[in-house]
Symmetry: C2
Subunit: 405 residues, 2 copies
């Protein structure tokens, strides 16, 4: 007998029939003798629908009230789901964020979990009940509802697994695991059976949408094994676990990409201390995340500064940078919002020299020009023209031997 | 400067445009220098939609989980409404049942309010905020969400008015007040400017749907004046207040009706002690409310027992009664589900003899046969064939001088 936390995403609970299907799975897990804590997202589409309603009233909805609004999505699914379990003859009880409680800081819209006292859930499990917890939401010490940001239900699930000292955390989704790359772009993509936390973390950061980053960080820090799998089939998915020796034999585990990137270049910046802060502080003050940064020194104490932002933030960032450029006496600002990022990830890189070089060669062989490069111990990312993105993904997938046979 | 509690029903907040309109009203009240506490219902139709979802999963949805589900309706409107107020430049804060807290007993689906500590709302009012409270919902001492039953938002509003020691409780609805009878049946119905609690209570019990009964009881017990008015116009509605002398001069204040009644007769019941209990206990055990009861004694220690139930409960009640009739040796059971109830209400009846007789005469003059009669100090109800209902309402409205000129 084990304690298992199962999280089901929005597509898995999109309507009452799907909710019943999920309930059957949970009941089966319980009837094998396990204790089960279920974490649910809102029905697919519901969160967006609520955001649209809010925007009919306020272009930038008040963050506290938006959390009150959005948290209803999970409230609907946990109550319906608990009914479904009861209809099948087992006992269940639903808990909202404030009832567990899932205590968070007061940063509405992207709150962080402070702690989760396990006692209340433990008590209900001991009574033989399936405990159904609303994902994505928490409560501040002063009693306001918070939400954890997009994908927050994954974080709820892993944090609960940690708090309850669970044996396993299963993340059910609409795909059957983590893939070597996006099968929509590369038909030869393969499901990965086992991957380590660090790789999963890089993949999540680099655009793979299957798991939310913070949930992987949490699982890694506390050593909770994650099982990413499909709620529509019984086949095993991808285990996300501690790194082991077998993993080092694989040079590259996955190819990821992020399509919607944009690049901004500030030319002939007077190169003096503090100039980077002058350029980037106003951008971060506007809550825009800068990804890669490259600085090229020219002759005569001048430098060129190039960086990338998400394409959504491109217009806003350009406006800010143009103002800054005038203030600091830079010559010009240029931009390009038709670029994308392609990356390779693998813990094996640590022990294999020349992986980056192989990547550049593969891209060159296919005529793909590289604009910017960024590396870490276990990944290499290249900024390329968006039009080459699919080609680059397939070429790298094949070139690093990831293609399915 | 006064403290005013305003309650808006589901049709007043049915979409985001209507929510903005209501926010304008509330802001206007606040800008006149008043403290305002707003109580909102769910958007019209939302509660029924959620019940349908639940019934797709459980024919008789689990009562605790149904409350979790239904309470989302008000959560949506209070958050959107608070945004609307902020968009207009004033400050607002929303509170759910658990946040106030509105403490109730644990009877899910029809919980009763135990107490409402006023401190938290008071604190926000003192900061100049408009406080927006979810109607219809509460929280048990052990932290489960409850709902107060249909029309429960009226009760929330009045209970808050009591707890906050408010000067006035305004109930905004889609009609412009309480009418002498249903204008859909009787075009000459008039809006009543002032009515006393007792009359309002009888009217609510007798089928007038404008106010929920418990809210009137609460207001009466604590002497909170209610103003029932339209959220779509600025005209004054109906004040519900303590009885005063002027009210006694009016013999009949209103004509009410309840269409969906049904009648069951058990014939030749052996007339011995305990026989009524034998018939009615199984019915109340099935949560069926019996309204009128008539017992006619026959010769030979036999009696006929006739009673009425809501038409919804007719089939179920018939089944129960047929079983009982066999057990107690009654001769037969007959029923009729095409009857209705028409009533006259007025505190003036106390001082005017012959009001009931006048009612019977009016009905007789129009050829309406009376099957059963029930009276109290301030009302007379008659069971008649459903086909005569509209005729009877109009005849009584005219006969007691209620027609508009």
């Amino acid at each position: 007998m084990a304690l298992i936390v199962q999280k089901y995403g929005g597509t898995s609970v999109a309507d009452t029939e799907k909710i019943k299907n999920v309930a059957r799975r949970v009941v089966a897990t319980k009837e094998k003798g396990n204790d089960v804590v279920v974490v649910l997202s809102a029905m697919a589409g519901q969160t967006n629908h609520l955001i649209e309603l809010a925007k009919e009233i306020q272009a930038a909805p008040d963050s506290r009230e938006l959390d009150v609004l959005l948290s209803t999505g999970e409230q609907v699914t946990i109550s319906l789901f608990s009914m479904a379990v009861k209809e099948m003859g087992l006992d269940a009880v639903s808990f909202l964020g404030f009832q567990v409680p899932i205590e968070t800081d007061p940063i509405h819209g992207k709150a962080r979990i402070i702690q989760i006292p396990p006692e209340k859930i433990r008590r209900e499990l001991d009574k033989g009940k399936i405990v159904v917890v609303a994902g994505f939401q928490g409560i501040t010490p002063s009693g306001s509802i918070t939400t954890l940001g997009r994908g927050g239900s994954d974080t709820t699930a892993v944090a609960l697994a940690v708090a309850m000292d669970a044996d396993l955390c299963e993340i059910y989704t609409d795909v059957d695991g983590v893939y070597t790359t996006d099968p929509n772009i590369c038909p030869k993509a393969r499901k990965i059976d086992k991957i380590c936390y660090e790789e999963m973390l890089e993949m999540a950061s680099l655009g793979a949408k299957v798991l939310e980053i913070r949930s992987v960080e949490f699982a890694m820090r506390y050593g909770i094994p994650l099982h990413v799998r499909s709620s529509f089939s019984d086949s095993l998915g991808t285990m996300v676990v501690e790194e082991d020796e077998s993993m080092e034999n694989v040079m590259v585990s996955a190819v990821t990409y992020s399509r919607d990137e944009a690049r901004i270049t500030v030319s002939k910046v007077p190169d003096r201390p503090g100039i980077a802060a002058a350029i980037f502080s106003p951008i971060s003050d506007a809550n825009i995340v800068v990804d890669m940064i490259i600085q090229n020194t020219r002759a005569g104490d001048l430098t060129d500064m190039t960086f990338t932002v998400s394409r959504n933030d491109y217009q806003k960032a350009m406006e800010i940078v143009k103002r800054t450029a005038q203030e600091i006496g830079a010559a010009s600002v240029a931009g390009d919002d038709t670029i994308s990022k392609v990356s390779i990830v693998g813990v094996g890189m640590r022990n294999h020299a020349g992986v980056a070089g192989t990547m550049f060669n593969i891209l060159a062989r296919h005529g793909v020009n590289i604009h910017m490069i960024s590396t870490s111990e276990i990944k290499v990312s290249c900024i390329i023209d968006e039009k080459f993105l699919e080609l680059a993904v397939r070429a790298l997938h094949e070139g690093f031997g990831l293609d399915a046979e």
